[in-house]
């Protein structure tokens, strides 16, 4: 057990060190997400009624598409220099490698959301943070990272990986996007916590199922 968590910690620590040095994940995804939000703010008539209907969708579209960028980068890093093979040569369970990579992506995406959300609130002139939205964001991001990490490991050795990852990933995260958008719409529309938290069981169930399934499937994905 100690070696399991030790491997997870080593991978997260290494990815954080690399990110602090290169800033590849966070900077590219923040810039991309902000661009999506700004473009949408120009593309739609920002009346309060339209904003209330459209803004949550814009926000999660920006995060999900930004996440694709970051997740592609995350495993490209492991492909360069044969480092994925290096990870697999360590005496750690394959699923510990998966969880380590997934947690690192989750942390980076949460940081992105933390940086992008204030800009989103200002651009669309929306009410400030609803506490229940934090739980929605955490669970939705966990689901996105769980699925995205597996598919980016699958796509990294294909020739058209930039195309392959969104093709595999986006259809599978649709339930997360729907739940996150609906919960965010309720929160930003001033609904009470109960209305927002209605979506939590769906997100939690999705995360539980896909975390287990993806950790199990990772073993087969990385086998040469």
């Amino acid at each position: 057990m100690k070696s399991y968590f030790g491997a997870i910690w080593a991978i997260v620590r290494k990815d954080v060190m690399l990110e602090l040095r290169t800033k590849d994940f966070v900077v590219s995804v923040v810039v991309f997400s902000l661009l999506v939000i700004v473009i949408f703010s120009f593309a739609i008539e920002p009346t309060p009624q339209v904003v209330a209907r459209v803004a949550p969708g814009v926000l999660w579209t920006a995060f999900v598409f930004g996440g694709v960028l970051g997740l592609t980068r995350s495993f490209a890093l492991e492909r360069d220099g044969g480092n994925l093979r290096g990870l697999l040569l360590a005496p750690a369970p394959r699923d510990a490698v998966y969880v380590g990579k997934m947690l690192a992506s989750f942390l980076f995406m949460m940081l992105v959301e933390l940086l992008v959300f204030p800009a989103f609130v200002v651009i669309f002139d929306l009410p400030l943070l609803h506490p229940a939205l934090i739980l929605v964001a955490v669970l939705a991001t966990l689901g996105i990272s769980a699925v995205g990490t597996l598919f980016s490991a699958m796509a990294v050795n294909t020739r058209a990986r930039e195309v392959m990852l969104p093709l595999l990933f986006l259809p599978v995260v649709i339930p997360v996007v729907i739940a996150a958008v609906e919960a965010s719409a309720a929160a930003l529309g001033g609904a009470d916590s109960g209305e927002v938290l209605r979506w939590i069981p769906l997100l939690a169930a999705y995360d539980a199922v896909f975390l287990v399934a993806c950790a199990f499937a990772f073993h087969f994905v990385v086998e040469e």
Binding site: A7, D80, G81, G86, L89
Partner: protein, 244 residues
């Protein structure tokens, strides 16, 4: 770091019997047999595409054979992967290093993955042995090919593996680095460990290996003692020139 004691002499270090492996329609290994004993360095020579790197990946547990049996320390890498990987040090064509981390950070990460205690001490010792101590805090991406390769060897040695697997370790190394590598290979075998390395350089291999295995058409065609250079050259030359 966990101690493994002296080599388990009840089993060979590596036993491969009747190994076949295909990639799509390409049959790379067709019934390969090879045994490596403790205290032995075995060089595997063969033309490009003869399956030398595939053999290393199979022994290291990165890949499973289609048929046949592989044992490392008497264990099946597919079933006891974690135990086998802990006992095996691998150096591949790829450096297995992160360009944006320093040599020290790369070795530190590998040390954490292998759960090495007193990592700092061990990193210092291995870096000193490989002659990269002065470059430890330089980013790997800024190092020359030869220095990167030395760090790659350091990574393979870090957890004191009992079996060393090296894929063309000598390519791209200068004279000093070759001398260090020779010391690593012969020293590892002399201390009771086992070494398998692949190469295209028969003369270099002959001076460092106890046995030379020539691979062709997906199997070991001949095995020579390290001193039997002339006979090995004749067979190897025929394999390299022959149709594949």
């Amino acid at each position: 770091m966990r101690s493994y004691g002296s080599p388990d002499t009840t089993h060979c270090a590596v036993e491969a019997a009747g190994i076949t492996k295909s990639f799509g329609r390409s049959e790379v290994l067709r019934g390969l047999d090879l045994t490596i004993d403790w205290g032995e360095a075995v060089a595997v020579l063969g033309p490009n595409g003869s399956g030398k790197s595939t053999l290393i990946r199979l022994i290291a547990g990165l890949s499973k054979p289609d048929s046949g049996d592989i044992r490392v320390l008497g264990l099946d890498p597919a079933r006891h992967g974690e135990m086998v990987r802990r006992a095996v040090g691998v150096m591949t064509h790829e450096p297995l290093l992160y360009d944006d981390l320093t040599g020290y950070e790369n070795l530190e990460f590998a040390g954490r993955m292998f759960r090495i205690d007193r990592r700092e001490e061990r990193i210092e010792a291995v870096a000193g042995r490989l002659g990269v101590h002065a470059r430890l805090h330089q980013r790997v991406g800024s190092l020359s090919h030869g220095l990167r390769k030395r760090f790659s060897i350091a990574r393979a040695l870090l957890h004191k593996p009992r079996v060393l697997l090296m894929d063309e370790p000598e390519s791209g190394l200068d004279g000093r680095a070759l001398a260090i590598l020779e010391d690593v290979l012969t020293g590892h075998a002399a201390s009771g460990g086992a070494v398998l390395f692949t190469t295209h350089d028969l003369d270099w291999a002959a001076g460092r290996a106890n046995r030379i295995a020539i691979v062709g058409a997906g199997r070991v065609s001949n095995v020579f003692s390290g001193g039997d250079r002339a006979a090995a050259r004749k067979v190897y030359g025929a394999h390299v020139k022959g149709p594949h």
